[in-house]
């Protein structure tokens, strides 16, 4: 268990969440892998995927009885990006043209797998939110938590069809949004976005330059007209 302290440069101390973190790391024990705290904002806990159900149950008994949402993150970098010309960064002025650096780490609380599951819970009495994360292993299977939070039912179905995560013990893991014959998992990063693939980006067109062999000639023409006009453009 590695318990990370808040970044040193952030001098703000969030006592409420610190206390919560201490309490939860005690009750979670071995199951807590890593944690991250943004003072006065949120608390992230990463738990072992084997004890996913138990961790949620622990959190619920610690007062986190309001179910926010359940979803997943695919940490792979999308091959096509935004389907735009990658050199363009939306800027006009020169000084803005620093290349975009893409951070390849896996977010708060770290992670060791491509897919991560996250659940957001609230404790109404303590007025505090909590985000629990877990890695989804190669077999893409994890225990369902719909018995603990009934609302997770649909969220798990959605995560299943969008990311292809299987929830062990979920009785109706049918697609929620997609037609039954749909193939693929749309929210995975390698799933292509057809609407952007079929149409070229209009921003890729650039202004037509003056052909070099004509440049001198055109310049002369313009200057001649300028002088004939008496210097007024």
């Amino acid at each position: 268990m590695t318990d990370e302290t808040p970044p040193e440069d952030n001098a703000v101390v969030d006592e409420k969440r610190e206390a919560l973190l201490a309490g939860l790391s005690e009750s979670l024990g071995e199951d807590l892998v890593e944690s991250y705290l943004r003072p006065h904002e949120d608390l992230w806990l990463r738990v072992r995927s084997e004890s996913w159900q138990d961790s949620i149950r622990t959190a619920k008994s610690a007062g986190f009885e309001y179910f926010g949402f359940l979803s997943a993150i695919d940490w792979e970098i999308a091959p096509e990006g935004r389907y735009e010309d990658t050199e363009f960064d939306g800027g006009l002025e020169e000084e803005d043209e620093e290349p975009v650096e893409i951070d390849s780490s896996t977010g708060y609380g770290g992670g060791g797998s491509r897919f991560q599951l996250l659940v957001q819970l609230y404790s109404l009495s303590q007025q505090i939110g909590l985000i629990l994360k877990t890695d989804v292993g190669e077999d893409m299977t994890i225990d369902t938590i719909r018995d603990i939070f009934a609302g997770a039912d649909w969220h798990e179905r959605e995560t299943h069809e969008m990311f292809g995560v299987f929830f062990r013990g979920h009785p109706t893991l049918q697609p929620l949004y997609l037609p039954t014959e749909f193939e693929g998992h749309p929210l995975r990063k390698d799933f292509p976005l057809l609407a952007r693939q079929v149409k070229p980006w209009p921003g890729v067109v650039d202004i037509e330059e003056i052909p070099e062999h004509l440049e001198a000639q055109l310049e002369a023409e313009v200057m001649a007209a300028f002088e004939a006009n008496g210097g007024a453009s």
């Binding site: 067109v205 650039d206 202004i207 037509e208 310049e219 200057m223 300028f226 453009s233």
Partner: protein, 179 residues
């Protein structure tokens, strides 16, 4: 089961509204029915509602200001602005200067069949070439006709209203529409 007051109150509300719609005038004129005045609806083809000045109806292009910088086209979330241009030589600004290279706009199309009316293009334009106007009557029977070229977009320029003054306490400066 039903007790009278709630039910009768409800009847009162509808009757009152009917009265207000049919007899909106005050004083002795109350007796003259004037539903045209009392109704809140606008009889569209006969009378037209004036949208607020800031309403995002259609985008107007002030062509003289456009430098074909492509910024609007690139920041459009729908990829619905098509710009083509070429560079030309222009006379210098001052006596004795060198000839400048400027962008000449060949094509500026906005496909209103795709446009989501978000206004990002108008906002990013650094040269005040794009403006919103509240005009809304430009529907077409054919979807292809919704592609407005630069002449059509230029015609909308006449309908651009002046920018509004701000409430006291604002530090914004009122911009001017180039005419």
């Amino acid at each position: 089961m039903p007790q009278l007051p709630g039910l009768i109150k409800g009847l009162g509300v509808t009757a009152k509204t009917a009265g207000r719609t049919l007899f909106p005038k005050r004083g002795w004129k109350t007796l003259i029915p004037a539903p045209q005045k009392g109704a809140v609806t606008v009889q569209y083809p006969h009378e037209k509602e004036a949208p607020p000045e800031r309403a995002r109806g259609v985008i107007a292009l002030h062509e003289e200001n456009c430098t074909a910088c492509m910024l609007c086209s690139r920041s459009c979330p729908d990829w619905c602005i098509y710009i083509e241009g070429h560079k030309v030589k222009a006379p210098p600004r001052r006596e004795g200067g060198k000839p400048r290279t400027v962008n000449m706009l060949d094509r500026f199309d906005i496909d209103y069949a795709l446009c989501m009316y978000c206004g990002i293009c108008v906002e990013v334009c650094p040269f005040d070439a794009l403006f919103w106007t509240p005009e809304y009557e430009y529907s077409e029977p054919r979807i292809a006709d919704l592609l407005h070229d630069k002449d059509r977009l230029g015609e909308w320029m006449d309908t651009v209203p002046d920018f509004l003054d701000y409430e006291p306490g604002s530090e914004q400066k009122v911009r001017k529409v180039p005419r």
